[in-house]
């Protein structure tokens, strides 16, 4: 009885004797199709990359703005309510005179 390891080694040795399958050259039309596809894919230029990054940065900035407004909303409203009843020093001076 063969040991499992030698069985595997004998099996792969036999498999290596098998002829390689098929023709290695590109099938008809393959290279033309791949070349056309490759050339059609726009390579990212530096300008396009800066453009895309700028839009992303703008998006992040807007998100941060919305977040900061939401986080500080209560503080802003308290201040604005207090602004509605300010100390009117000029009116006080005028009425007293």
């Amino acid at each position: 009885m063969k040991t499992p390891n030698s069985a595997w080694l004998r099996l792969v040795a036999a498999a290596r004797q098998a002829p390689t399958s098929g023709d290695d050259s590109a099938p008809f039309g393959f290279s033309t199709r791949v070349a056309a596809l490759a050339m059609a894919v726009e390579r990212p230029s530096m300008h396009a990359m800066v453009n895309r990054l700028s839009w992303r940065a703008l998006g992040v900035a807007l998100m941060l703005m919305v977040f900061s407004i939401a986080a500080n909303y209560s503080a802003v409203t308290v201040v604005s309510e207090s602004d509605q009843d300010p100390l009117d020093l000029v009116a006080d001076v005028l009425t007293s005179s």
Partner: protein, 198 residues
């Protein structure tokens, strides 16, 4: 591909033209590299994936990443590495591996398996194709990374250094994966031997 053809093909000039968006040069490059790419794709082809589709994906990656090629390694090595990593990505994407059952083997495959498990004689040359099919079925039982390593080591007889260059894995990791793969294959053969006896 013969050395004459390799010598006649001016790879550096072709790459320059491809970088300048020359479609004819791109076609020539594909034709030049196709034998190299298709051999790797055929050796590591996942189930239910057409070899032509996978080869096309490899070439598209080559063209997309052409700007990253610095010439630190020979261009065919760089392309081989892209081909290997593309194949392994597809192998990893296969969630399930088919169960290996004696009943699913063809008559020739069963004879070959019987021969390697019980007989002292070598498998006859006529059964080489069946042996290769059987090896492919056994390799499908392994994890994709382990399968790739054992296939390159035992079937393609590549060295650890060559595998390391193709995959980017360290030689230690390759040895660990080869050990794991052989242990799994050993268990599989032991199961088959038990079934054979029963």
């Amino acid at each position: 591909m013969s050395d004459d053809v390799d010598a006649a093909f001016d790879l550096v000039a072709c790459l320059e033209r491809v970088r300048a968006s020359d479609q004819v040069a791109a076609r020539e490059l594909v034709e030049h590299l196709h034998p190299l790419v298709i051999r790797i794709v055929r050796a590591h082809l996942p189930r239910r994936v057409a070899e032509e589709d996978l080869a096309q994906e490899v070439f598209m990656k080559v063209f997309t990443r052409l700007g990253q090629f610095q010439g630190a390694v020979p261009f065919p090595h760089w392309v081989s590495r892209i081909a290997v990593t593309t194949c392994i990505d597809h192998l990893r994407a296969q969630k399930r591996r088919p169960e290996f059952r004696w009943a699913d083997l063809s008559e020739n495959e069963a004879d070959v398996l019987d021969a390697v498990l019980t007989s002292e004689n070598d498998v006859s040359a006529n059964d080489a194709l069946a042996a290769r099919e059987l090896v492919a079925k056994l390799l499908e039982q392994l994890k994709p990374d382990d399968r790739l390593v054992i296939q390159m080591l035992d079937l393609e007889q590549k060295t650890l250094i060559e595998i390391s260059q193709l995959t980017g894995w360290s030689t230690t990791l390759i040895k660990v994966r080869a050990f794991r793969a052989r242990r799994k294959l050993q268990k599989l053969f032991e199961q088959l031997q038990r079934k054979e006896r029963s």
